[in-house]
């Protein structure tokens, strides 16, 4: 790791001020991506600004028909929260399958969203549920938040504060985890929401995306069989030693079907 300055922010305002003074500073929450990246010398920030544990980023509650999750909530918190398990069990289940226990004990939802790894799980839930990412500056709808490979709508100095998930009628997430890393080779989040059916896919392409053709098909018939033959453009899919793009395209369909089967099994 290159030399850097560690600064513990006293508040979000304090963090914003430190970021404004130091354009090459990086925010540090759980550090489950940033610390390994620093160890590999793949990043060279002048400062890391620790925002883990800030009271402003805490809390999980249902308010006005939405599940509100503080950005500092750890994966373990979401996985085990009785509030999340009751409000959106698919989200709790998704959190329980991220990485390994040690990662879930440190990593945060805000950090994962800000990083927007193309194979991360949370982006699928946030996009699939049509959630809103609330930052220190504004509210950003999921549809505008994710902008491809490690890119988001976040501006310099903007910090994710919380995520507001509208409660779906029902939702399920299924993923094919990479056997070594646990990252999604492909993960599909299917939700029946007040605004219609949403299908979000992670791991397959350079960033999370909605499979709109599947949404249209499922709006007519909310069954696994409805996905037979539904068009899926895989031309931009990831193509690597772990899975080629055709295989990933097949996984998208299989995971989507499994998500629907999970829902029909439970009712």
């Amino acid at each position: 790791m290159y030399a850097l300055n560690y600064v513990k922010a006293k508040s979000l305002k304090d963090a914003a001020a430190i970021l404004a003074r130091n354009p090459e500073a990086k925010l540090l929450a759980g550090g489950m991506t940033l610390i390994p990246t620093l160890k590999q010398r793949l990043a060279r920030p002048t400062h890391v600004v620790d925002i883990a544990g800030l009271p402003e980023l805490r809390g999980i509650a249902v308010k006005a028909g939405k599940l509100v999750v503080g950005a500092g909530s750890k994966h373990h918190d979401l996985a085990t929260s009785s509030v999340v398990r009751k409000a959106i069990p698919a989200l709790a289940g998704l959190a329980a399958e991220i990485g390994d226990p040690q990662v879930r004990n440190r990593g945060t939802i805000g950090g994962s969203l800000a990083n927007n790894d193309p194979a991360a799980d949370y982006p699928a839930a946030v996009l699939g549920l049509g959630a809103t990412v609330v930052t220190t500056k504004r509210s950003i709808a999921a549809d505008g938040f994710f902008q491809g490979l490690f890119a988001t709508a976040l501006e310099a100095g903007e910090v994710v504060v919380r995520v507001e998930f509208p409660l779906p009628k029902r939702a399920a997430y299924m993923k094919f985890p990479h056997p070594a890393s646990g990252y999604a080779m492909t993960g599909v989040f299917v939700a029946q929401t007040a605004g219609g059916v949403r299908v979000a896919v992670t791991g397959a392409g350079p960033g999370v995306f909605r499979w709109t053709a599947a949404e249209a098909a499922l709006a007519k018939s909310f069954k696994a069989a409805a996905l037979e033959g539904v068009k899926l453009d895989s031309s931009g899919f990831n193509n690597d030693i772990h899975a080629d793009r055709e295989y990933r395209a097949n996984l998208v369909r299989v995971m989507a079907k499994r998500a629907l089967e999970k829902l029909s099994g439970k009712k």
Partner: protein, 158 residues
Amino acid sequence: MAKVTIKVNGKNQTRTVEDRMLLVDFLRDELRLTGTHIGCDTSQCGCCTVHVDGRAVKSCSMLAAQANGANVVTIEGMAKGKTLHPIQRAFSECHGLQCGFCTPGMIMATAGLLKDNPNPTDAEIYKGLEGNLCRCTGYINIVKAVKMSAKLLRGKRH
């Protein structure tokens, strides 16, 4: 430089360290607690697992400065004098190790798992130890050791 005070195995330890120092290096180089191992450089192997404020974490994936004010327990904090911790005893009796390099991390991860789930199934043990690698392929006996640990900790013996 960062001045950090970390409670390690019940004792406050204050040092002034480089901001970039990892917690695992703090434990090994500053405190000479070399039971916490470094098995990889990629946050994958889990050999460096310790407990920070009661939760199992990889000490190679956090800065010492991030642990400032925290309560850390390492493998050295498990035994009571000459009496092994029940999980240590179970790993010894079940031969849940071959070369032993991964063992401190396995034991700390097991302690974390059993705190959340005192009576795990085989599948739950596999999942609970997902963050720890044994390169001797000794998982069968590790799983046995976790089961025996669970029994011992629940106050039962066989």
